[in-house]
Symmetry: C2
Amino acid sequence: MIDVPTLVEQARAGRPRAVARLISLVENAAPQLREAMAALAPYTGQAYTVGLTGSPGVGKSTSTSALVSAYRRLGKRVGVLAVDPSSPFSGGALLGDRVRMQDHATDPDVFIRSMATRGHLGGLSWAAPQALRVLDAAGCEVILVETVGVGQSEVEVAAQADTTVVLMAPGMGDGIQAAKAGILEIGDVFVVNKADRDGADATARELSHMLGLGEARQPGDWRPPIVKTVAARGEGVDEVVEALEKHRAWLEEGGELAARRRRRAAQEIEAIALAQLRARIGDLHGDRHLDSLADQVAGGRLDPYGAADRLVAGLTDR
Amino acid sequence: MIDVPTLVEQARAGRPRAVARLISLVENAAPQLREAMAALAPYTGQAYTVGLTGSPGVGKSTSTSALVSAYRRLGKRVGVLAVDPSSPFSGGALLGDRVRMQDHATDPDVFIRSMATRGHLGGLSWAAPQALRVLDAAGCEVILVETVGVGQSEVEVAAQADTTVVLMAPGMGDGIQAAKAGILEIGDVFVVNKADRDGADATARELSHMLGLGEARQPGDWRPPIVKTVAARGEGVDEVVEALEKHRAWLEEGGELAARRRRRAAQEIEAIALAQLRARIGDLHGDRHLDSLADQVAGGRLDPYGAADRLVAGLTDR
Protein backbone atom coordinates (compact mmCIF):
# COMPACT_ATOMS: atom_id res chain seq x y z
CA MET A 1 0.00 0.00 0.00
CA ILE A 2 1.60 3.22 -1.16
CA ASP A 3 0.51 6.34 0.69
CA VAL A 4 1.16 9.02 -1.90
CA PRO A 5 0.37 12.14 0.20
CA THR A 6 2.76 10.99 2.92
CA LEU A 7 5.48 10.14 0.37
CA VAL A 8 5.15 13.57 -1.20
CA GLU A 9 5.30 15.26 2.19
CA GLN A 10 8.41 13.30 3.13
CA ALA A 11 10.05 13.96 -0.24
CA ARG A 12 9.45 17.68 0.20
CA ALA A 13 11.15 17.43 3.59
CA GLY A 14 14.20 16.00 1.79
CA ARG A 15 13.84 12.38 2.90
CA PRO A 16 15.90 10.34 0.37
CA ARG A 17 13.84 7.18 0.80
CA ALA A 18 10.63 8.98 -0.16
CA VAL A 19 12.32 10.57 -3.18
CA ALA A 20 13.58 7.15 -4.22
CA ARG A 21 10.14 5.58 -3.91
CA LEU A 22 8.51 8.32 -5.95
CA ILE A 23 11.06 7.91 -8.73
CA SER A 24 10.40 4.16 -8.61
CA LEU A 25 6.73 4.93 -9.28
CA VAL A 26 7.87 6.79 -12.40
CA GLU A 27 10.13 3.97 -13.57
CA ASN A 28 7.53 1.30 -13.01
CA ALA A 29 4.74 3.44 -14.48
CA ALA A 30 2.88 2.50 -11.31
CA PRO A 31 -0.87 3.09 -10.99
CA GLN A 32 -0.17 5.68 -8.27
CA LEU A 33 1.92 7.76 -10.68
CA ARG A 34 -0.99 9.99 -11.67
CA GLU A 35 -1.83 10.77 -8.07
CA ALA A 36 1.84 11.39 -7.28
CA MET A 37 2.32 13.76 -10.21
CA ALA A 38 -0.83 15.68 -9.28
CA ALA A 39 0.36 15.99 -5.66
CA LEU A 40 3.88 17.05 -6.71
CA ALA A 41 2.82 19.61 -9.34
CA PRO A 42 2.41 22.62 -7.00
CA TYR A 43 6.01 22.23 -5.80
CA THR A 44 7.64 22.04 -9.24
CA GLY A 45 8.99 24.58 -11.71
CA GLN A 46 11.75 25.86 -9.42
CA ALA A 47 14.76 23.71 -10.33
CA TYR A 48 17.32 24.72 -12.94
CA THR A 49 18.07 21.63 -15.04
CA VAL A 50 21.35 20.99 -16.84
CA GLY A 51 21.74 18.17 -19.37
CA LEU A 52 25.18 16.64 -19.94
CA THR A 53 25.90 14.55 -23.01
CA GLY A 54 28.91 13.32 -24.96
CA SER A 55 30.60 10.18 -26.24
CA PRO A 56 31.72 7.42 -23.86
CA GLY A 57 35.13 8.18 -22.42
CA VAL A 58 34.89 11.97 -22.35
CA GLY A 59 34.42 11.91 -18.58
CA LYS A 60 30.72 12.59 -18.13
CA SER A 61 30.43 10.98 -14.68
CA THR A 62 33.59 12.68 -13.44
CA SER A 63 32.39 16.01 -14.75
CA THR A 64 28.97 15.53 -13.21
CA SER A 65 30.53 14.70 -9.86
CA ALA A 66 32.80 17.77 -10.08
CA LEU A 67 29.80 19.97 -10.92
CA VAL A 68 27.93 18.58 -7.93
CA SER A 69 30.87 19.60 -5.72
CA ALA A 70 30.98 23.07 -7.26
CA TYR A 71 27.26 23.66 -6.74
CA ARG A 72 27.49 22.31 -3.19
CA ARG A 73 30.20 24.91 -2.48
CA LEU A 74 27.63 27.49 -3.55
CA GLY A 75 25.24 25.98 -0.98
CA LYS A 76 22.78 24.59 -3.53
CA ARG A 77 20.80 21.39 -3.07
CA VAL A 78 21.66 19.25 -6.10
CA GLY A 79 19.92 16.37 -7.87
CA VAL A 80 21.56 14.01 -10.35
CA LEU A 81 19.65 11.85 -12.79
CA ALA A 82 22.01 9.46 -14.60
CA VAL A 83 20.29 8.04 -17.64
CA ASP A 84 21.74 4.78 -18.86
CA PRO A 85 20.02 3.11 -21.77
CA SER A 86 22.19 -0.01 -21.76
CA SER A 87 21.97 -1.14 -18.15
CA PRO A 88 18.87 -2.87 -16.91
CA PHE A 89 16.95 -0.69 -14.53
CA SER A 90 19.05 -0.41 -11.40
CA GLY A 91 16.14 -0.04 -9.00
CA GLY A 92 16.06 1.48 -5.60
CA ALA A 93 19.52 2.82 -4.91
CA LEU A 94 19.21 6.54 -4.42
CA LEU A 95 22.46 7.54 -2.80
CA GLY A 96 25.88 6.35 -3.85
CA ASP A 97 24.59 4.07 -6.57
CA ARG A 98 27.47 4.99 -8.85
CA VAL A 99 31.10 4.63 -7.89
CA ARG A 100 32.24 8.09 -8.95
CA MET A 101 29.42 9.67 -7.01
CA GLN A 102 30.69 8.16 -3.75
CA ASP A 103 32.07 11.58 -2.77
CA HIS A 104 28.52 12.76 -2.31
CA ALA A 105 27.07 9.61 -0.78
CA THR A 106 26.79 11.03 2.72
CA ASP A 107 25.68 14.53 1.73
CA PRO A 108 21.99 14.96 2.64
CA ASP A 109 21.66 17.75 0.08
CA VAL A 110 22.64 15.61 -2.90
CA PHE A 111 20.16 13.23 -4.52
CA ILE A 112 21.54 10.80 -7.07
CA ARG A 113 19.53 8.41 -9.14
CA SER A 114 20.22 6.13 -12.10
CA MET A 115 17.51 5.39 -14.61
CA ALA A 116 17.48 3.03 -17.56
CA THR A 117 15.33 3.16 -20.65
CA ARG A 118 13.95 -0.33 -20.14
CA GLY A 119 13.91 -0.84 -23.89
CA HIS A 120 10.89 1.36 -24.38
CA LEU A 121 11.02 3.51 -27.45
CA GLY A 122 10.33 6.98 -26.19
CA GLY A 123 10.10 5.58 -22.69
CA LEU A 124 13.01 7.66 -21.55
CA SER A 125 11.68 10.94 -22.87
CA TRP A 126 8.51 10.19 -21.00
CA ALA A 127 10.02 9.05 -17.70
CA ALA A 128 12.86 11.59 -17.41
CA PRO A 129 10.70 14.74 -17.04
CA GLN A 130 8.63 13.01 -14.36
CA ALA A 131 11.73 11.96 -12.42
CA LEU A 132 12.98 15.56 -12.71
CA ARG A 133 9.69 16.74 -11.26
CA VAL A 134 10.23 14.54 -8.19
CA LEU A 135 13.72 15.97 -7.61
CA ASP A 136 12.38 19.47 -8.25
CA ALA A 137 9.64 19.07 -5.64
CA ALA A 138 12.24 17.63 -3.22
CA GLY A 139 13.88 21.04 -3.25
CA CYS A 140 16.79 20.43 -5.63
CA GLU A 141 17.80 23.86 -6.91
CA VAL A 142 20.00 22.41 -9.64
CA ILE A 143 19.41 19.05 -11.35
CA LEU A 144 22.10 17.52 -13.54
CA VAL A 145 20.86 15.03 -16.13
CA GLU A 146 23.78 12.89 -17.21
CA THR A 147 23.16 10.70 -20.25
CA VAL A 148 25.49 7.76 -20.29
CA GLY A 149 24.77 6.67 -23.85
CA VAL A 150 25.04 8.49 -27.13
CA GLY A 151 21.84 7.37 -28.86
CA GLN A 152 19.21 9.66 -30.24
CA SER A 153 16.95 9.33 -27.21
CA GLU A 154 19.76 10.26 -24.80
CA VAL A 155 20.53 13.34 -26.88
CA GLU A 156 16.84 14.23 -26.75
CA VAL A 157 16.79 13.88 -22.99
CA ALA A 158 19.88 16.07 -22.61
CA ALA A 159 18.29 18.64 -24.92
CA GLN A 160 15.20 18.75 -22.71
CA ALA A 161 17.13 20.50 -19.95
CA ASP A 162 17.15 24.26 -19.44
CA THR A 163 20.82 24.27 -20.43
CA THR A 164 22.61 21.52 -22.36
CA VAL A 165 26.31 20.85 -21.87
CA VAL A 166 28.13 18.91 -24.59
CA LEU A 167 31.35 17.27 -23.41
CA MET A 168 34.30 16.35 -25.58
CA ALA A 169 37.84 15.13 -25.05
CA PRO A 170 41.01 15.63 -27.12
CA GLY A 171 41.93 13.15 -29.82
CA MET A 172 38.66 11.29 -30.08
CA GLY A 173 37.47 12.76 -33.35
CA ASP A 174 34.60 13.98 -31.25
CA GLY A 175 33.86 16.99 -33.38
CA ILE A 176 32.87 14.92 -36.36
CA GLN A 177 30.94 12.41 -34.25
CA ALA A 178 29.13 15.25 -32.53
CA ALA A 179 28.21 16.83 -35.85
CA LYS A 180 26.89 13.47 -37.07
CA ALA A 181 24.82 12.90 -33.96
CA GLY A 182 23.38 16.40 -34.26
CA ILE A 183 24.57 17.39 -30.80
CA LEU A 184 26.37 20.55 -31.92
CA GLU A 185 22.94 22.14 -32.38
CA ILE A 186 21.78 21.31 -28.86
CA GLY A 187 24.88 22.50 -26.98
CA ASP A 188 24.51 25.70 -24.97
CA VAL A 189 27.88 25.22 -23.28
CA PHE A 190 30.75 23.09 -24.63
CA VAL A 191 33.34 21.50 -22.42
CA VAL A 192 36.65 20.07 -23.61
CA ASN A 193 37.53 17.76 -20.73
CA LYS A 194 40.89 16.05 -20.14
CA ALA A 195 42.44 19.34 -21.26
CA ASP A 196 45.81 18.27 -19.86
CA ARG A 197 46.10 15.86 -22.77
CA ASP A 198 47.66 16.63 -26.13
CA GLY A 199 45.33 18.12 -28.65
CA ALA A 200 42.98 19.92 -26.28
CA ASP A 201 43.57 23.27 -27.96
CA ALA A 202 43.12 21.70 -31.39
CA THR A 203 39.82 20.16 -30.29
CA ALA A 204 38.64 23.51 -28.94
CA ARG A 205 39.67 25.26 -32.17
CA GLU A 206 37.95 22.63 -34.34
CA LEU A 207 34.83 22.98 -32.23
CA SER A 208 34.93 26.76 -32.42
CA HIS A 209 35.20 26.51 -36.17
CA MET A 210 32.33 24.00 -36.48
CA LEU A 211 30.13 26.15 -34.28
CA GLY A 212 30.95 29.19 -36.41
CA LEU A 213 31.92 31.12 -33.30
CA GLY A 214 34.06 33.46 -35.37
CA GLU A 215 31.04 34.59 -37.37
CA ALA A 216 28.92 37.62 -36.60
CA ARG A 217 25.77 37.03 -34.57
CA GLN A 218 22.63 39.00 -33.93
CA PRO A 219 22.82 41.07 -30.76
CA GLY A 220 21.15 39.11 -27.97
CA ASP A 221 22.02 35.73 -29.54
CA TRP A 222 23.68 33.21 -27.30
CA ARG A 223 27.28 32.46 -28.21
CA PRO A 224 28.10 28.99 -26.78
CA PRO A 225 31.27 29.20 -24.70
CA ILE A 226 33.93 26.49 -24.87
CA VAL A 227 35.42 25.70 -21.47
CA LYS A 228 38.50 23.52 -20.95
CA THR A 229 38.48 21.31 -17.85
CA VAL A 230 40.34 18.55 -16.09
CA ALA A 231 37.32 17.34 -14.20
CA ALA A 232 39.21 14.61 -12.31
CA ARG A 233 41.26 17.37 -10.63
CA GLY A 234 38.39 19.85 -10.49
CA GLU A 235 40.21 22.23 -12.86
CA GLY A 236 37.98 24.57 -14.86
CA VAL A 237 34.81 23.36 -13.17
CA ASP A 238 34.05 26.71 -11.56
CA GLU A 239 34.30 28.23 -15.06
CA VAL A 240 31.70 25.71 -16.26
CA VAL A 241 29.38 26.77 -13.43
CA GLU A 242 30.00 30.39 -14.38
CA ALA A 243 29.10 29.62 -18.01
CA LEU A 244 25.96 27.81 -16.84
CA GLU A 245 24.87 30.72 -14.69
CA LYS A 246 25.45 33.13 -17.58
CA HIS A 247 23.33 30.95 -19.84
CA ARG A 248 20.64 30.75 -17.21
CA ALA A 249 20.61 34.55 -16.88
CA TRP A 250 20.41 34.85 -20.67
CA LEU A 251 17.50 32.38 -20.73
CA GLU A 252 15.62 34.32 -18.08
CA GLU A 253 16.20 37.78 -19.55
CA GLY A 254 14.96 36.93 -23.00
CA GLY A 255 11.95 34.90 -21.89
CA GLU A 256 13.58 31.83 -23.45
CA LEU A 257 13.50 29.87 -20.19
CA ALA A 258 9.71 30.06 -19.99
CA ALA A 259 9.42 29.28 -23.70
CA ARG A 260 11.67 26.20 -23.42
CA ARG A 261 9.76 24.92 -20.42
CA ARG A 262 6.43 25.48 -22.13
CA ARG A 263 7.66 23.60 -25.21
CA ARG A 264 8.89 20.71 -23.05
CA ALA A 265 5.61 20.56 -21.13
CA ALA A 266 3.67 20.51 -24.41
CA GLN A 267 5.79 17.59 -25.67
CA GLU A 268 5.29 15.73 -22.42
CA ILE A 269 1.52 16.25 -22.45
CA GLU A 270 1.39 15.05 -26.06
CA ALA A 271 3.45 11.94 -25.29
CA ILE A 272 1.19 11.02 -22.38
CA ALA A 273 -1.97 11.71 -24.39
CA LEU A 274 -0.75 9.54 -27.24
CA ALA A 275 0.21 6.73 -24.87
CA GLN A 276 -3.24 6.92 -23.29
CA LEU A 277 -4.93 6.72 -26.68
CA ARG A 278 -2.69 3.86 -27.77
CA ALA A 279 -3.55 1.99 -24.57
CA ARG A 280 -7.25 2.55 -25.15
CA ILE A 281 -6.95 1.18 -28.67
CA GLY A 282 -4.92 -1.75 -27.34
CA ASP A 283 -7.68 -2.46 -24.84
CA LEU A 284 -10.06 -2.90 -27.74
CA HIS A 285 -8.41 -6.16 -28.87
CA GLY A 286 -11.10 -8.75 -28.70
CA ASP A 287 -13.63 -5.98 -28.27
CA ARG A 288 -16.90 -6.61 -30.08
CA HIS A 289 -16.95 -3.18 -31.71
CA LEU A 290 -13.49 -3.57 -33.29
CA ASP A 291 -14.28 -7.17 -34.28
CA SER A 292 -17.40 -6.05 -36.05
CA LEU A 293 -15.59 -3.22 -37.83
CA ALA A 294 -12.82 -5.59 -38.91
CA ASP A 295 -15.40 -8.04 -40.23
CA GLN A 296 -16.99 -5.33 -42.33
CA VAL A 297 -13.65 -4.16 -43.71
CA ALA A 298 -12.48 -7.71 -44.51
CA GLY A 299 -15.77 -8.30 -46.31
CA GLY A 300 -15.59 -5.07 -48.31
CA ARG A 301 -18.68 -3.60 -46.65
CA LEU A 302 -16.68 -0.75 -45.08
CA ASP A 303 -13.38 0.93 -45.88
CA PRO A 304 -10.62 1.09 -43.25
CA TYR A 305 -10.81 4.88 -42.93
CA GLY A 306 -14.50 4.80 -42.21
CA ALA A 307 -13.84 2.04 -39.67
CA ALA A 308 -11.03 4.04 -38.06
CA ASP A 309 -13.35 7.06 -37.78
CA ARG A 310 -15.90 4.99 -35.90
CA LEU A 311 -13.20 3.52 -33.67
CA VAL A 312 -11.87 6.99 -32.80
CA ALA A 313 -15.37 8.34 -32.21
CA GLY A 314 -15.99 5.53 -29.74
CA LEU A 315 -12.70 6.05 -27.88
CA THR A 316 -13.44 9.08 -25.76
CA ASP A 317 -16.94 7.96 -24.79
CA ARG A 318 -15.45 5.23 -22.66
CA MET B 1 -7.86 17.31 -60.31
CA ILE B 2 -8.25 13.62 -59.53
CA ASP B 3 -11.61 12.14 -60.43
CA VAL B 4 -11.79 9.21 -58.01
CA PRO B 5 -15.03 7.57 -59.24
CA THR B 6 -13.70 7.51 -62.82
CA LEU B 7 -10.32 6.15 -61.66
CA VAL B 8 -12.05 3.37 -59.71
CA GLU B 9 -14.25 2.52 -62.68
CA GLN B 10 -11.25 2.37 -65.01
CA ALA B 11 -9.22 0.32 -62.51
CA ARG B 12 -12.07 -2.19 -62.26
CA ALA B 13 -12.00 -2.44 -66.06
CA GLY B 14 -8.33 -3.42 -65.77
CA ARG B 15 -6.79 -0.19 -67.05
CA PRO B 16 -3.17 -0.21 -65.82
CA ARG B 17 -2.86 3.58 -65.73
CA ALA B 18 -5.82 3.91 -63.39
CA VAL B 19 -4.46 1.15 -61.13
CA ALA B 20 -1.10 2.93 -61.06
CA ARG B 21 -2.66 6.26 -60.16
CA LEU B 22 -4.70 4.73 -57.34
CA ILE B 23 -1.61 3.09 -55.87
CA SER B 24 0.16 6.45 -56.14
CA LEU B 25 -2.61 7.92 -53.98
CA VAL B 26 -1.76 5.26 -51.40
CA GLU B 27 1.97 5.94 -51.54
CA ASN B 28 1.56 9.70 -51.32
CA ALA B 29 -1.12 9.42 -48.64
CA ALA B 30 -3.06 11.79 -50.89
CA PRO B 31 -6.15 13.60 -49.60
CA GLN B 32 -8.26 11.60 -52.08
CA LEU B 33 -7.16 8.33 -50.47
CA ARG B 34 -10.15 8.14 -48.17
CA GLU B 35 -12.57 8.62 -51.01
CA ALA B 36 -10.71 6.07 -53.12
CA MET B 37 -10.71 3.44 -50.37
CA ALA B 38 -14.42 3.96 -49.75
CA ALA B 39 -15.15 3.60 -53.46
CA LEU B 40 -12.95 0.49 -53.81
CA ALA B 41 -14.24 -1.32 -50.70
CA PRO B 42 -17.23 -3.05 -52.32
CA TYR B 43 -14.95 -4.71 -54.88
CA THR B 44 -12.40 -6.08 -52.43
CA GLY B 45 -12.03 -9.28 -50.43
CA GLN B 46 -11.76 -11.55 -53.48
CA ALA B 47 -8.00 -11.78 -54.11
CA TYR B 48 -5.83 -14.53 -52.64
CA THR B 49 -2.65 -12.89 -51.36
CA VAL B 50 0.71 -14.62 -51.10
CA GLY B 51 3.67 -13.04 -49.27
CA LEU B 52 7.21 -13.97 -50.28
CA THR B 53 10.15 -13.27 -48.00
CA GLY B 54 13.74 -14.41 -47.56
CA SER B 55 17.31 -13.14 -47.41
CA PRO B 56 18.85 -11.25 -50.33
CA GLY B 57 20.22 -13.65 -52.93
CA VAL B 58 17.73 -16.48 -52.46
CA GLY B 59 16.01 -15.51 -55.71
CA LYS B 60 12.84 -13.79 -54.59
CA SER B 61 12.32 -11.79 -57.78
CA THR B 62 13.02 -14.79 -59.99
CA SER B 63 10.67 -16.94 -57.93
CA THR B 64 7.98 -14.27 -58.03
CA SER B 65 8.30 -13.99 -61.80
CA ALA B 66 8.11 -17.79 -62.18
CA LEU B 67 5.01 -17.88 -59.97
CA VAL B 68 3.40 -15.19 -62.11
CA SER B 69 4.00 -17.40 -65.18
CA ALA B 70 2.57 -20.43 -63.43
CA TYR B 71 -0.59 -18.60 -62.36
CA ARG B 72 -0.95 -17.10 -65.84
CA ARG B 73 -0.90 -20.62 -67.28
CA LEU B 74 -3.87 -21.29 -64.99
CA GLY B 75 -5.59 -18.28 -66.54
CA LYS B 76 -5.51 -16.13 -63.39
CA ARG B 77 -5.11 -12.36 -63.38
CA VAL B 78 -2.07 -11.69 -61.20
CA GLY B 79 -0.89 -8.67 -59.23
CA VAL B 80 2.64 -8.20 -57.88
CA LEU B 81 3.53 -5.77 -55.15
CA ALA B 82 7.31 -5.57 -54.70
CA VAL B 83 8.12 -3.93 -51.41
CA ASP B 84 11.58 -2.42 -51.25
CA PRO B 85 12.50 -0.55 -48.12
CA SER B 86 15.90 0.59 -49.34
CA SER B 87 15.05 2.17 -52.67
CA PRO B 88 13.49 5.59 -52.79
CA PHE B 89 9.92 5.43 -53.98
CA SER B 90 10.04 4.46 -57.63
CA GLY B 91 6.90 6.32 -58.62
CA GLY B 92 4.66 5.75 -61.55
CA ALA B 93 5.98 2.71 -63.37
CA LEU B 94 3.31 0.06 -63.26
CA LEU B 95 4.36 -2.39 -65.89
CA GLY B 96 7.87 -3.63 -66.39
CA ASP B 97 9.38 -1.55 -63.64
CA ARG B 98 11.66 -4.36 -62.60
CA VAL B 99 14.08 -6.06 -64.92
CA ARG B 100 13.15 -9.63 -64.07
CA MET B 101 9.50 -8.89 -64.54
CA GLN B 102 10.07 -7.91 -68.18
CA ASP B 103 8.60 -11.28 -69.22
CA HIS B 104 5.22 -10.03 -68.10
CA ALA B 105 5.54 -6.43 -69.28
CA THR B 106 3.17 -6.83 -72.19
CA ASP B 107 0.64 -9.09 -70.46
CA PRO B 108 -2.55 -7.08 -69.78
CA ASP B 109 -3.51 -9.49 -67.01
CA VAL B 110 -0.40 -8.89 -64.93
CA PHE B 111 -0.08 -5.81 -62.73
CA ILE B 112 3.32 -5.12 -61.21
CA ARG B 113 4.15 -2.37 -58.80
CA SER B 114 7.14 -1.48 -56.63
CA MET B 115 6.64 0.30 -53.36
CA ALA B 116 9.16 1.72 -50.92
CA THR B 117 8.75 2.42 -47.25
CA ARG B 118 9.71 6.07 -47.60
CA GLY B 119 11.42 5.91 -44.24
CA HIS B 120 8.16 5.87 -42.34
CA LEU B 121 8.14 3.62 -39.33
CA GLY B 122 5.08 1.46 -39.80
CA GLY B 123 4.41 3.23 -43.09
CA LEU B 124 4.77 0.02 -45.00
CA SER B 125 2.34 -1.97 -42.89
CA TRP B 126 -0.11 0.82 -43.44
CA ALA B 127 0.39 1.34 -47.17
CA ALA B 128 0.72 -2.29 -48.28
CA PRO B 129 -2.84 -3.42 -47.39
CA GLN B 130 -4.26 -0.40 -49.21
CA ALA B 131 -2.21 -1.09 -52.32
CA LEU B 132 -3.40 -4.71 -52.15
CA ARG B 133 -6.96 -3.44 -52.03
CA VAL B 134 -6.42 -1.53 -55.29
CA LEU B 135 -5.07 -4.64 -57.04
CA ASP B 136 -7.88 -6.69 -55.51
CA ALA B 137 -10.54 -4.34 -56.87
CA ALA B 138 -8.77 -4.35 -60.25
CA GLY B 139 -9.67 -8.02 -60.50
CA CYS B 140 -6.38 -9.65 -59.56
CA GLU B 141 -7.26 -13.15 -58.41
CA VAL B 142 -3.81 -13.76 -56.97
CA ILE B 143 -1.54 -11.06 -55.54
CA LEU B 144 2.09 -11.79 -54.79
CA VAL B 145 3.71 -9.52 -52.23
CA GLU B 146 7.47 -9.76 -52.64
CA THR B 147 9.50 -8.15 -49.88
CA VAL B 148 12.95 -7.22 -51.09
CA GLY B 149 14.44 -6.50 -47.69
CA VAL B 150 14.77 -8.64 -44.61
CA GLY B 151 13.89 -6.14 -41.89
CA GLN B 152 11.16 -6.58 -39.33
CA SER B 153 8.64 -4.51 -41.24
CA GLU B 154 9.12 -6.54 -44.42
CA VAL B 155 8.59 -9.76 -42.49
CA GLU B 156 5.43 -8.23 -41.05
CA VAL B 157 4.17 -7.33 -44.50
CA ALA B 158 4.85 -10.82 -45.81
CA ALA B 159 3.06 -12.27 -42.79
CA GLN B 160 0.00 -10.16 -43.57
CA ALA B 161 -0.76 -12.23 -46.65
CA ASP B 162 -3.22 -15.13 -46.70
CA THR B 163 -0.28 -17.48 -47.25
CA THR B 164 3.36 -16.70 -46.51
CA VAL B 165 6.18 -18.28 -48.49
CA VAL B 166 9.65 -18.29 -46.96
CA LEU B 167 12.44 -18.72 -49.50
CA MET B 168 15.89 -20.10 -48.79
CA ALA B 169 18.91 -21.16 -50.83
CA PRO B 170 21.62 -23.76 -50.13
CA GLY B 171 24.78 -22.79 -48.33
CA MET B 172 23.70 -19.43 -47.02
CA GLY B 173 23.26 -20.39 -43.40
CA ASP B 174 19.70 -19.32 -44.04
CA GLY B 175 18.17 -21.58 -41.47
CA ILE B 176 19.87 -19.86 -38.58
CA GLN B 177 19.24 -16.42 -40.03
CA ALA B 178 15.60 -17.29 -40.54
CA ALA B 179 15.25 -18.52 -36.98
CA LYS B 180 16.82 -15.30 -35.72
CA ALA B 181 14.53 -13.11 -37.80
CA GLY B 182 11.53 -15.04 -36.56
CA ILE B 183 10.43 -15.99 -40.07
CA LEU B 184 10.19 -19.72 -39.40
CA GLU B 185 7.00 -19.00 -37.46
CA ILE B 186 5.38 -17.09 -40.27
CA GLY B 187 6.11 -19.56 -43.09
CA ASP B 188 3.15 -21.53 -44.41
CA VAL B 189 5.16 -22.87 -47.34
CA PHE B 190 8.95 -23.14 -47.49
CA VAL B 191 10.91 -23.06 -50.73
CA VAL B 192 14.54 -24.10 -51.11
CA ASN B 193 15.45 -22.33 -54.34
CA LYS B 194 18.62 -22.88 -56.41
CA ALA B 195 18.13 -26.57 -55.63
CA ASP B 196 20.63 -27.49 -58.36
CA ARG B 197 23.38 -26.25 -56.09
CA ASP B 198 25.29 -28.33 -53.56
CA GLY B 199 23.70 -28.53 -50.18
CA ALA B 200 20.05 -28.16 -51.21
CA ASP B 201 19.09 -31.44 -49.54
CA ALA B 202 21.02 -30.48 -46.40
CA THR B 203 19.23 -27.13 -46.28
CA ALA B 204 15.86 -28.85 -46.66
CA ARG B 205 16.75 -31.35 -43.91
CA GLU B 206 17.96 -28.63 -41.57
CA LEU B 207 14.77 -26.70 -42.22
CA SER B 208 12.62 -29.77 -41.64
CA HIS B 209 14.39 -30.33 -38.35
CA MET B 210 14.00 -26.71 -37.24
CA LEU B 211 10.33 -26.75 -38.13
CA GLY B 212 9.86 -29.95 -36.14
CA LEU B 213 8.19 -31.55 -39.15
CA GLY B 214 9.06 -34.99 -37.85
CA GLU B 215 7.01 -34.43 -34.71
CA ALA B 216 3.40 -35.42 -34.24
CA ARG B 217 0.80 -32.75 -34.91
CA GLN B 218 -2.83 -32.31 -34.03
CA PRO B 219 -5.17 -33.55 -36.75
CA GLY B 220 -6.19 -30.56 -38.84
CA ASP B 221 -2.96 -28.70 -38.12
CA TRP B 222 -1.10 -27.34 -41.13
CA ARG B 223 2.21 -29.03 -41.83
CA PRO B 224 4.35 -26.55 -43.81
CA PRO B 225 5.65 -28.26 -46.95
CA ILE B 226 9.22 -27.74 -48.16
CA VAL B 227 9.46 -27.44 -51.94
CA LYS B 228 12.72 -27.46 -53.88
CA THR B 229 12.89 -25.23 -56.95
CA VAL B 230 15.20 -23.86 -59.59
CA ALA B 231 13.11 -20.80 -60.26
CA ALA B 232 15.37 -19.48 -63.03
CA ARG B 233 14.48 -22.58 -65.08
CA GLY B 234 10.92 -22.82 -63.77
CA GLU B 235 11.63 -26.17 -62.08
CA GLY B 236 9.43 -27.00 -59.11
CA VAL B 237 7.32 -23.89 -59.53
CA ASP B 238 4.13 -25.81 -60.32
CA GLU B 239 4.72 -27.72 -57.07
CA VAL B 240 4.86 -24.40 -55.23
CA VAL B 241 1.54 -23.39 -56.76
CA GLU B 242 0.13 -26.77 -55.73
CA ALA B 243 1.34 -26.21 -52.15
CA LEU B 244 -0.18 -22.73 -52.17
CA GLU B 245 -3.54 -24.03 -53.39
CA LYS B 246 -3.48 -26.74 -50.71
CA HIS B 247 -2.81 -24.15 -48.04
CA ARG B 248 -5.56 -21.95 -49.39
CA ALA B 249 -8.02 -24.85 -49.25
CA TRP B 250 -6.90 -25.61 -45.67
CA LEU B 251 -7.40 -21.93 -44.74
CA GLU B 252 -10.89 -21.91 -46.19
CA GLU B 253 -12.02 -25.20 -44.70
CA GLY B 254 -11.05 -24.38 -41.16
CA GLY B 255 -12.34 -20.80 -41.19
CA GLU B 256 -8.76 -19.62 -40.76
CA LEU B 257 -8.87 -17.50 -43.91
CA ALA B 258 -11.71 -15.36 -42.56
CA ALA B 259 -10.00 -15.18 -39.15
CA ARG B 260 -6.68 -14.06 -40.66
CA ARG B 261 -8.37 -11.41 -42.78
CA ARG B 262 -10.38 -10.15 -39.83
CA ARG B 263 -7.20 -9.90 -37.74
CA ARG B 264 -5.42 -8.01 -40.51
CA ALA B 265 -8.33 -5.63 -40.95
CA ALA B 266 -8.40 -4.96 -37.21
CA GLN B 267 -4.67 -4.15 -37.26
CA GLU B 268 -5.15 -1.86 -40.23
CA ILE B 269 -8.06 -0.03 -38.61
CA GLU B 270 -6.02 0.42 -35.44
CA ALA B 271 -3.01 1.74 -37.35
CA ILE B 272 -5.14 4.28 -39.21
CA ALA B 273 -6.98 5.31 -36.04
CA LEU B 274 -3.68 5.84 -34.22
CA ALA B 275 -2.26 7.82 -37.12
CA GLN B 276 -5.39 9.98 -37.17
CA LEU B 277 -5.11 10.64 -33.46
CA ARG B 278 -1.41 11.40 -33.76
CA ALA B 279 -2.14 13.83 -36.58
CA ARG B 280 -4.82 15.54 -34.55
CA ILE B 281 -2.39 15.95 -31.66
CA GLY B 282 0.25 17.20 -34.10
CA ASP B 283 -2.24 19.75 -35.43
CA LEU B 284 -2.48 21.15 -31.94
CA HIS B 285 1.07 22.56 -32.06
CA GLY B 286 0.68 26.27 -31.59
CA ASP B 287 -2.93 25.65 -30.62
CA ARG B 288 -4.13 27.87 -27.81
CA HIS B 289 -5.56 24.97 -25.78
CA LEU B 290 -2.27 23.00 -25.76
CA ASP B 291 -0.26 26.18 -25.13
CA SER B 292 -2.40 26.99 -22.13
CA LEU B 293 -2.12 23.43 -20.77
CA ALA B 294 1.66 23.49 -21.25
CA ASP B 295 1.86 26.82 -19.46
CA GLN B 296 -0.03 25.42 -16.50
CA VAL B 297 2.15 22.29 -16.34
CA ALA B 298 5.39 24.29 -16.65
CA GLY B 299 4.19 26.56 -13.84
CA GLY B 300 3.18 23.67 -11.57
CA ARG B 301 -0.53 24.58 -11.66
CA LEU B 302 -1.47 21.31 -13.38
CA ASP B 303 0.14 17.88 -13.66
CA PRO B 304 0.93 16.39 -17.09
CA TYR B 305 -1.61 13.55 -16.70
CA GLY B 306 -4.41 15.95 -15.95
CA ALA B 307 -3.32 18.01 -18.95
CA ALA B 308 -3.22 14.92 -21.18
CA ASP B 309 -6.75 14.01 -20.04
CA ARG B 310 -8.03 17.41 -21.10
CA LEU B 311 -6.17 17.19 -24.40
CA VAL B 312 -7.68 13.77 -25.16
CA ALA B 313 -11.15 14.90 -24.11
CA GLY B 314 -10.88 17.80 -26.55
CA LEU B 315 -9.66 15.65 -29.45
CA THR B 316 -12.82 13.98 -30.62
CA ASP B 317 -14.97 17.10 -30.35
CA ARG B 318 -13.13 18.61 -33.28
